[in-house]
Amino acid sequence: MEVSKEDSSRKGSLPKAQKESRRMTATEQKETRTKKERGMVLGKNTPLWMALATTAVVAVVGAYHLIVCNSDVLFMAQSKDFFSSDMSHLKECMRLPGGLISWLATFLTQFFYHPALGACILMVLWLGSMWLSKVAFKVRTVWMAVLAMPAFCLLVSTIDVGYWIYYVKQTGYWFYGSVGYLVAMALVWFHSLFKKRIDRVITTCLVAITYPFFGWYTLLALAYISVMTIARPAQDGKVMMRVLRPAFPLVLAGVMPLLCYQLYSGIRLEDVWTVGFPQFTNDTTVSLVPAVPFALLAIAPLFFPFLPRRQELRGRAAWSAWIVTLAIWIGGCVWAEKMDFQNYNYHAEMRMYRDADEGDWEKVLDEMSEIPGNASRQMVLLKNVALLNTGEMGTKMFKYNNMGEPPTNGFDTLHVHMVQTVAPLLYYYHGKTNFTVRWCIENSVEFGNDYDNLKLLARCALVGGEMDVARKYLTILKTTLFYRDWAERLWPITEKPELIKKYPEFDTVRELRDHMGTTLDGDNGLCEMYLLNYFSHTMNKESKLLQELTLNYALVQKDIQLFWPRFFLYAQLHDGEKMPVHYQEAAKLYGSLEPDNVDISRMPFDKEVNDSYAGFQKLSQSLLSTGMKTEEVGEAIKSTYGGTFYWFYFFCRDIHSY
């Protein structure tokens, strides 16, 4: 155990009388201790073991929540971020105070492409800042658990964002706090290296001028320096100095942003002190919950300088150290567990998005079939796209859950819009590349560039034959660490456009797009409604794929008038082929509901369909006659008939798109 130089020098300078009096007090204290505190004494190495155990706890809890529980979130996080080695990216980051942190954070975020790797880097930063804060604040090793509180804050800030993942505007959010906190600790440590008054004034000023690079975290460092000065006042006794020393860093923290405001044209004056502190706001919602860890992260180190600095802990003090350590371990674990946003659909949506993006349709369908409750609408739509690509719309469309659980955070009223989540990808797979381009650009205006957008923009350009702009996007992606291969794989198409035929991943999109007419319209921000309306009102004889899509969307619309012409066209285009079961079910149902409209008596329905429909009618009628409500009947027969079109028609209701 070490005694700080500051303490020993202070002891050495005490007057003789005072020393004696202190010796007496020490003797008295010793006696008192022998009487009252005969309990536990922390062994020589115990604090070190406690510190190592704390490090291990942070690492294990972090690894569990990041890698085991949130790999899909981390992957999505990097895909919604962007780093380029091009200088223009650094310049763009530096347009705001704290730009260097943004730049570093975006650099590090890309490692979430391999979630475990990114998580490890993140944890190294946390553990590094823990140990650095110990040195910076000269905290005894035994209190390492207290120093771990910011690490728990940073962990929670990574796993509690929920659907804000699609709305966070802070560039490099995922590493911003971790890099920033590490920087703040480094600045405090740098300041603590100097003892002389004039040196400390100079280093405080040096810390202050890092504001353009570190923004909010420079201000925090100044606040910590101020608190350190309060906690360990100099012994010169002058009251004025005791006030001025802590006040000086605070004055700099207040003034520096104001001075720098003239350097920045893209920031509001009222934001200069908080730039870098993430805000979870959009047009309709201001959420405080995800900001809490950042507030605690900022506050916690203010107490570090006040932690007991006694070399040896005995009895009650030793117990206190253990209790505090255990409380922080347990509290941190419980807090992380409680705040980890473990909504099933939230995670499944991300996995499905990735699978769909990679064209792994079987995985999309597997994910959909494993959902324990109701899917969200975007999952249903991704499932439809998967079935379109596997050619199973007619046989499996209604065998999955088609309800629509609205995506919510639970802890706030954030209203999630599909155009900001999956719509660009959905439009792309529906051949609506112009709409993909639109929403990629709209979202990049609001939330910045990201790899997902650039990939989609490149694909749309390739499909649309816009090779020059495709080259532009691919060139940008080629400068990235993890999307270079992706871009290089597609690059040959820009040189020989006809090569696109050799890339099967474009087949469906190209066929839909090529056979689609061009009109002038808009989606009013409602992707699903637009797709349903557009495709259910389209007729196409040239493309079997597009025609089948229109038939299916007519089914989803539950519109009999739209159904029949598309059904007959399907039969015509698939002459001699077996009619898929859902189309038979729809024909059977609609023919029965409106017998005057189309005569189905001579249609060659499968025996299974005939039997199933008869059974469905009989059972549902009998249950309804018992006085059961429609919803109750639906639930009662779901296990038997839930995979049929008629069940969808009667019982899949009140679906709200978003």
Partner: protein, 501 residues
């Protein structure tokens, strides 16, 4: 003169000695074609005061060298695949080649072999260009507009600064969009830009003093949108527009921006009064611009009759968007009485050509009128067929300026203060992102090959994912800081009065 050249040469040699320049390959294999360079600066005519024309060589090469030969010397540059020219050396090169040309030979190293491409010339005009341009920096125009700024660029070097940044005022639902900016006679002590929504209003600088005005009155359609400062009076002509946006499902033009209604208004700065210039029924008047003497107002107008009362005008406009075609008009203006008279169609593009004319701009000598023309509509930045045309105002003959056009969209033409330079917005690079291009306009009325505004990093435009909208020349930088604009923007706008004409 000889002494000047002598001293210039000495300075040049001294600077060359201080810098490292690559050796020019001796035994390069000759190619009969020009090299692929980006931006394309082959055979262009440039101002004698422009910044270095750095370029990237887009050949399959590991190293490149470009030798610039000019009267009195030669210098070679090359760094990787880029040719980055020292700014001080470039100034001396321009000085030496003023009124003449410099020859550029490009060498590329492929494997172990060097290739020498057909040399090209860069002609250095005796005419200088206005030192500054300004433009709106925005993602290709869609609905969202949060990150949006008006920037000014010094053309004699690479300095770029923001005049005003949207993020400095507000965001989200209280945010606003910046519309067009305009200067009186290329100077910035009388200038304006308009913002809509949020803290909307017209930011008006009069004699260097900043004001915020609300130009919307009960009698007018909207606040001022497309502005034009009167060259001598404290008057500004604006269009007022009811604008909507819709989206092509497949067409590569992607977007249509349409006015369902539009009129022209005149704002009298001294009286803070708005009066209507033209609000004819079935006419969509827009894009006012003054003649240099201030005695004529040119504008565009489309005749469009709504036929279907059962649907909203917006819907009908979307359905019939290809029928909206603008002609070019001119009205006499008496600056003393502020009266307009003798409205005359001077270019019938719609009926006779099936075309639509937008964005007219008159040369400072009053002889020529530039405009953008495409098949239909008013927002040619999204129309791939849009090209720049020029009318000789004396003969009223119109010609397409092939030297500045490309197979992709060209729009927003404008003149430099000396009339020797044209600037246009072009999407020639990729069809989606607009870039400002400059072109020399000689004394015989001929436009020369257009070239991109140079950037320090020649690959800058490739990596830059925003567009440059409405580029304008300025003879001086804007004196008001972005922070001052932001402060004023948050204040309540002074309401303009309506005056019956």
């Amino acid at each position: 003169m000889k002494m000047k050249i002598f001293f210039s040469s000495i300075i040049l040699v001294a600077i060359m000695a201080a810098c490292t320049h690559p050796a020019v390959p001796e035994d390069a294999k000759k190619e009969s074609r020009l090299p692929h360079i980006y931006p394309d600066y082959t055979e262009v005519t440039i101002p004698c005061n422009i910044c270095p024309l750095n370029f990237a060589v887009r050949e399959n090469a590991s190293e490149v060298v470009a030798r610039f030969t000019f009267p009195g010397g030669e210098i070679a540059y090359g760094k990787g695949q880029n040719v980055l020219i020292d700014e001080e050396e470039w100034k001396l090169m321009l000085k030496a080649a003023k009124g003449k040309s410099m020859q550029v030979e490009v060498f590329t190293k492929e494997g172990e072999r060097w290739k020498a491409y057909k040399p090209f010339n860069i002609y250095v005009a005796k005419d200088s260009i206005d030192s500054y341009i300004s433009y709106r920096v925005i993602q290709p125009s869609y609905v969202a507009y949060e990150k949006l700024s008006i920037n000014q660029r010094n053309l004699t070097n690479f300095d770029e600064k923001e005049i005003y940044n949207n993020m400095s005022v507000s965001t989200e639902k209280t945010g606003q969009c910046i519309n067009c900016h305009s200067y009186q006679n290329f100077k910035t002590d009388n200038m304006l830009f308009h913002m809509r929504q949020g803290y909307g209003g017209t930011m008006l600088v009069v004699n260097g003093e900043l004001h915020k005005i609300d130009l919307k009155t009960e009698q007018t359609l909207s606040a001022g949108v497309y502005p034009a400062w009167h060259p001598t009076k404290r008057l500004i002509a604006f269009s007022t527009n009811s604008t909507g946006q819709s989206f092509h499902t497949k067409d590569l033009n992607k977007i249509e921006v349409q006015d369902t209604e539009s009129d022209l208004i005149l704002y009298d700065i001294d009286k803070n009064e708005v009066s209507i210039i033209s609000e004819l029924e079935d006419e969509l008047e827009v894009f006012p611009t003054w003649s240099p003497d201030g005695k004529k107002l040119y504008f565009c107008s489309a005749h469009f009759e709504y036929k279907n009362d059962s649907i909203a005008h917006e819907t009908e406009m979307i359905q019939r968007y290809k029928e909206v075609k603008y002609d070019l008009y001119c009205a006499d203006f008496n600056p003393d009485t502020k009266e307009f008279s003798n409205v005359e169609m001077i270019y019938n593009a719609a009926d006779s050509l099936g075309q639509s004319v937008t964005l007219p701009r008159i040369s400072p000598d009053g002889k020529y009128l530039l405009f953008a023309q495409a098949e239909y509509g008013c927002f040619h930045v999204w129309h791939a067929d849009a090209d720049i045309y020029m009318m000789d105002l004396k003969t009223r003959e119109v010609q397409r300026l092939d030297a500045v056009n490309s197979p992709r969209s060209e729009s927003y033409p404008t003149w430099s203060s000396n009339g020797r330079w044209i600037m246009v917005d072009s999407r020639r690079d990729d069809g989606n992102y607009t870039r400002p291009l400059l072109a020399y306009f000689d004394r015989q009325g001929k436009a020369h090959k257009a070239f991109a505004v140079p950037q320090k990093d020649p690959n800058f435009y490739t990596f830059f994912l925003r567009s440059y909208n409405r580029p304008e020349f300025m003879v001086e930088p804007v004196g008001i800081t972005p922070q001052e604009f932001a402060k004023k923007a948050k204040e309540e706008a002074v309401k303009a009065k309506y005056a019956q004409r």
